[in-house]
Every structure is written in structure tokens, then in C-alpha cells.
């Protein structure tokens, strides 16, 4: 059993910071593609790339 950081919730997943998808602790297919980037766990390399591209694009738009 896993509890959330504030101890209030029994949970078995985390969320990808880019797409928001649920990554289940006990699902091998979810674990297989996970990538650590900037001290966060993403569901896939594609989401890491998307995050980098978005930040670059928005930085360019802002000036």
C-alpha cells in the first residue's frame, strides 16, 4: 500500500507532468516507458521532448 505525500490518500499512480496521464505503479507497461527529466518522471521521452519544444516555442513568442 502506498500513501500520498500528505498521507491522506491511498494511491498507486503518479501523473506525467506533460500529458497528465496516470502512471500506475504496478503496471509494467507504464513503467517501461518512463523517463526522468529535470527531476520529474515523465510517461515517455516523447513527453519530455514536447515539454522542451513548448518551452522553447513560448520563450520565442514572448520575445
Amino acid at each position: 500500500m502506498k500513501f500520498s505525500q500528505n498521507g491522506l490518500y491511498i494511491e498507486s499512480y503518479s501523473k506525467c507532468p506533460n500529458c497528465g496521464d496516470l502512471m500506475y505503479e504496478n503496471a509494467p507497461e507504464d513503467r517501461a516507458k518512463q523517463v526522468k527529466y529535470d527531476s520529474k518522471t515523465y510517461c515517455s521521452q516523447r513527453c519530455v521532448n514536447w515539454t522542451i519544444d513548448r518551452e522553447a516555442r513560448r520563450a520565442k513568442q514572448e520575445g
Partner: protein, 565 residues
């Protein structure tokens, strides 16, 4: 690909889903099911992909694949037995909001799991802080009623009595809830039985192959539709007004639709952080809203299944108004924020698909909920009441008048049923004159429902929108009219907002107001925005609007330059 068998099988499965829905409608206790039809019935394969669905509630249709897939990660197929029925409503695990209860039953054929019959229904009373499940002032999930992770409510054909006891001990109307939950179970029982018949007729291999082809066919048709749209990045934003806690703060829905070839990605990054109050959407809602928007802009004859969703992806940042994190509340996300997200995506695509989008609609279900002890029966009653709004004008037609918002497809409870079931007298129900945004094609009109309280006391709550931010027009069309909720206390002759009458922070989101016998409540629903330059409106159409009372002569003069002859 055997197109003949594929079409026959698709039609047969959709018919089964419709039959499931009719069973649910006819066996349920609550008006939200047997009158409003706030449910969806579908079929899934063993991976959780939706293979057929009936045309009921779109928010649940789009939410179904994520719901079933999430549950299967917690209760894997290896732990599912013949005769089991799994129940789930957890907003944080693929769910939509606490009232939305999902039931699914495995379909076993010759001992092999082939798929699931699925029914999702909005249970009218779920416990929590306010009767009727929509607490407009909730600040945490615990205010929003009982939360159910995936559990077996029926195990191998036998009711799991412990689960039933837990469920029914946490709601105000256990007798009615029991009937509604059993109706949902009846729906999945029927779906499972009918699908087993289909399997026996065609055989497992043929159905596996044909269903795979069917999903591929839907995917190809959706990709063909998307390929016809110019590639590009299409941004747009809109706002949800207030969260019931801070009445003056609006919450941004930001979308960037990335269209490339036969696929789209809807990126919500830039949307507001999650709100304190209950307007947050879950991941399931954000996903479903993106599907809903693209189903509205593409060929309606594409079979509705997970295949047509494959080309559509979402990027919904956690902890935001479009992907709520525990323990923030979310009950309004599925009803109010969902249509606002759809409208934002339609707004983004308006430049390249002007003939397939509409101006902003009313985008609220009104969500007037109430409960109390009936003076005659002494039984607790609770109701989730939804009302209709005006839809946005389109490039080829006026907006729909008084229709449930874009994610509901629900019916309005008839006055006679309403008065029979609940201690209100409906004094009037009439279109709101001038609530339609002006345009070459005007927006649809909303309406006003005026009710007199006949009970000693009715506890009322509401989660609605568009009291402040009007539905926008498109391509020169003007805004539609805002909604309102007003109360006239017995012995007075003036109408007040809920803020004025009860000191609530928001006029549109509040909870637990005690309406007394003789008090009146007036629900005013918003209209839709207009489409195109009002100067181009067909004079005959304008004359008809005047004749039918959709618009006043004064507004016609101001907005269209109408002169009475």
C-alpha cells in the same frame, strides 16, 4: 476487411447499447435517469477500448475508455471472474466527478474474457456537504460525497453486501439510490447477455477480427477528416467565471490545438492552476472534452468507438483546472468546465473550420440541486435538476433554442413530472426574450423557470455559470444573454440574487440555502452567441423571431436596424 459483417456487427452492438439505456431509463427511480437520461451505455474490449456506444451523454462517452482502462490497472483481467460487476466513481483515477458512477461487467465466452458491458450514470444523491451532489462551495473532495475506487459490487454473480452497506450508509436517499444502482446493474447484465448471444452466433475469432477492423475503420475515417484541415498550431482561450469561493476571479482555459497530418494534440498548458472551489476538471473530463469537440467538427457518421479517438491526444498539466489533483473538488468540472473546454477548442478551430463550429453556447447545465423531507411522505427526497440553454449560431443556421449544453444531450424533466415528484409548483417556463446573440444566424434562446416552494423547507444548492461572462459571438455576431438565479422570499415583492438574499460569495455557485414554504426561485438560463454580421440576417427570419417572441422590437431595432412598418 469484411465491410458487410462489420456494418452488421456495429449496428447490432450499438442496438445493444441502446437497449441497455432503455432498460436503465425504465427501471431507474430518479428523474435524472428516467426523464433526463443522464447516462451512457457502451461495450468495451478486454483492453478497455470502447467498441460501441449509444448516443446518450457525450461527456461519459468520451470518458469511458480512460475510466475502464484505469480500473483494469487496479483490478487486472486475471482477477476478474464471470459474474463480477465492478463499480467506480473516483475522479482522480480516470473518473469524471463523484456523481458519475461507472459499472462494468465482464463478458466471458467459454471461460475466456472477451470484453465488458459498461454503464455510466449520474447518481442524483451521493452524500457529502449538500443534498443532490453539487456543492457549489466545496473546497475538498470530501464535501462532494462518497468516493469509490474500483470495487466489485457483485462478485461471481452475488451481491457484495458489505459494499452495498457502505454505499447506502453514506447517502441521504438509500432507497432511491438502491433502485438507481440496480438499474445500472440491469443495464450491464443485459449488455453482457446480449453480447454473449452475438459471440455464440458469429464465434470469437470472427468478432475479434471484425471489431479490430471496425476500430481501424473509425480511425481511418477520423484521420481522413483531420487530414483535410490545414496543418498548424491554433491557440484560443476562454474563462470559467468564479469557483464559488472567490467570486471575482476567473479561471483561464488555454488550448493550443496542434494539427499535423491525420492527428491532433490538444495542449492545455497555460490553463489556470486548479481552483479552490469545485470547477476543476479531471483528466477524464479534459480528454472527453477534446473528443467531444472533434466529434462536433467531423463527420457524424463515423462509428463512435476508441478507433476514432486514437488520432486525438491531450496534454493536460496536473494540478490545473483541466487535470485536478487530490484533494481539490471537481463536481462542476464535468458539467461546467467541460463545455467551456469544448467551446475553447471550437474557438481555436474557427479560423480554419468556420463552417463546422458555432459561437459560444450557454455552456451550463444550471445544476440546481435540492433535498429535504417531504411533508406528506416523511421520506427524504433529493433531486439533481438540469436545465437547457441557447446554443451558438453557426455559419448555416441559428443556434438551437433551449437545449441541454454540448456535453449533456439530456432531456429536461417535464413540469408535470417535476411537480409530481417534488414539492415545487412551476409557475412559469418561458423563453428569455432577447437572450439570443445577434448575427446573420442568431444564437439560441435560453429560458426562465419560476418555482414556488410547497414544502416547509427545501435545501438548495447550485453550480452554474454565465452569470457574468456572456457567451461570445463569432465572425461579427454579438454576445448571448447571461443567466441568473433569483429568489423572492415570501411576503416580499422583489427578486434578489443568492448573494443579496443569503450573503453567498457567488450568485452562480452556492450551497445549502434554505428555501422556505412560499418562497419563489427563478432560474434564468443563458442564450447563445450570434454568428456573422447581424446586418446580413434574412429579414424573413427576423420577422419570424419577432412573431414568435424570441426578440423584442426594441432589440431588433438596436441590433438589426429593424423598423416597424
Amino acid at each position: 476487411m469484411d465491410f458487410v459483417t462489420m456494418n452488421i456487427l456495429d449496428s447490432a452492438m450499438v442496438s445493444i447499447c441502446r437497449e441497455m439505456g432503455i432498460t436503465l431509463m425504465k427501471t431507474s427511480y430518479s428523474t435524472i435517469f428516467n426523464e433526463a437520461l443522464d447516462f451512457t451505455c457502451g461495450l468495451a474490449d478486454m483492453n478497455g477500448d470502447m467498441i460501441a456506444v449509444a448516443d446518450f451523454c457525450p461527456s461519459q462517452i468520451g470518458g469511458m475508455p480512460l475510466l475502464v482502462k484505469s480500473c483494469l490497472k487496479e483490478i487486472p483481467p486475471s482477477e476478474i471472474e464471470e459474474g463480477d460487476i465492478i463499480l467506480h466513481n473516483d475522479p482522480y483515477r480516470g473518473g469524471l466527478h463523484t456523481p458519475e458512477h461507472t459499472f462494468f461487467k465482464p463478458i466471458f465466452v467459454e471461460g475466456e474474457l472477451m470484453g465488458f458491458a459498461v454503464a455510466i450514470g449520474h447518481i442524483a444523491e451521493v452524500g457529502g456537504m449538500a443534498p443532490g451532489g453539487f456543492c457549489g462551495e466545496a473546497t475538498e473532495i470530501f464535501h462532494e460525497g462518497i468516493r469509490i475506487p474500483p470495487v466489485k459490487i457483485v462478485s461471481a454473480g452475488k451481491d457484495n453486501v458489505e459494499v452495498w452497506k457502505l454505499l447506502l450508509a453514506n447517502v441521504r436517499t438509500p432507497r432511491v439510490n438502491f433502485g438507481d444502482l440496480k438499474a445500472l446493474i440491469a443495464a450491464v447484465d443485459l449488455g453482457e447477455k446480449q453480447m454473449r448471444g452475438i459471440y455464440h452466433k458469429y464465434g470469437k475469432d470472427k468478432i475479434r477480427e471484425t471489431v479490430s477492423d471496425l476500430l481501424l475503420y473509425s480511425e481511418r475515417r477520423m484521420r481522413a477528416e483531420l487530414e483535410a484541415i490545414p496543418d498548424g498550431i491554433y491557440p484560443f482561450y476562454d474563462f470559467v467565471e468564479s469557483d464559488g469561493i472567490d467570486a471575482d476571479k476567473h479561471y483561464r482555459i488555454q488550448v493550443e490545438v496542434h494539427k499535423r497530418g491525420g492527428s491532433v494534440i490538444v495542449d492545455y498548458h497555460g490553463s489556470s492552476p486548479q481552483a479552490v472551489g469545485p470547477i476543476n476538471a479531471t483528466l477524464g473530463v479534459a480528454t472527453s472534452a477534446a473528443y467531444n469537440a472533434f466529434l462536433h467538427m467531423t463527420d457524424p457518421s463515423i462509428p463512435r468507438n476508441s478507433g476514432c479517438f486514437r488520432p486525438i491526444e491531450v496534454m493536460a498539466p496536473p494540478g490545473s483546472i483541466v487535470n485536478v489533483d487530490f484533494p481539490a473538488p471537481s463536481v462542476g468540472g464535468n458539467t461546467e468546465t467541460h463545455p467551456r473546454i469544448v467551446g475553447t477548442i471550437l474557438g481555436a478551430m474557427a479560423k480554419v473550420l468556420p463552417n463546422r463550429v458555432m459561437a459560444a453556447e450557454g455552456a451550463t447545465h444550471c445544476n440546481f440541486v435540492f433535498g429535504g423531507v417531504d411533508a406528506e411522505t416523511r421520506e427524504y427526497f433529493a433531486c439533481y435538476d438540469l436545465e437547457a440553454v441557447g446554443w451558438g449560431g453557426r455559419a448555416f443556421a441559428d443556434g438551437n433554442d433551449a437545449v441541454d449544453s454540448i456535453n449533456g444531450n439530456c432531456r429536461i424533466t417535464p413540469v408535470e413530472v417535476y411537480e409530481t415528484r417534488f414539492p415545487w409548483l412551476i409557475e412559469s417556463l418561458a423563453f428569455n426574450v432577447d437572450s439570443c446573440g445577434a448575427g446573420e444566424y442568431r444564437g439560441g434562446v435560453g429560458y426562465t423557470k419560476q418555482m414556488l416552494c410547497l414544502n416547509k423547507e427545501i435545501i438548495c444548492s447550485q453550480m452554474t455559470d454565465r452569470h457574468v461572462l456572456a457567451p461570445w459571438g463569432l465572425n461579427g455576431g454579438t454576445e448571448g444573454g447571461c443567466g441568473a438565479t433569483l429568489v423572492m422570499k415570501q411576503g416580499r415583492d422583489d427578486w434578489e440574487t443568492m448573494r443579496e438574499a443569503y450573503g453567498k460569495a457567488s450568485t452562480s455557485r452556492y450551497s445549502n440555502v434554505a428555501i422556505k414554504e412560499g418562497d419563489r426561485v427563478r432560474l434564468v438560463t443563458p442564450g447563445g452567441g450570434g454568428y456573422g454580421n447581424p446586418d446580413k440576417r434574412d429579414p424573413d427570419s427576423l420577422a419570424r423571431d419577432l412573431r414568435e417572441g424570441y426578440i423584442s422590437a426594441k432589440a431588433a431595432a438596436e441590433l438589426y436596424g429593424y423598423k416597424e412598418v
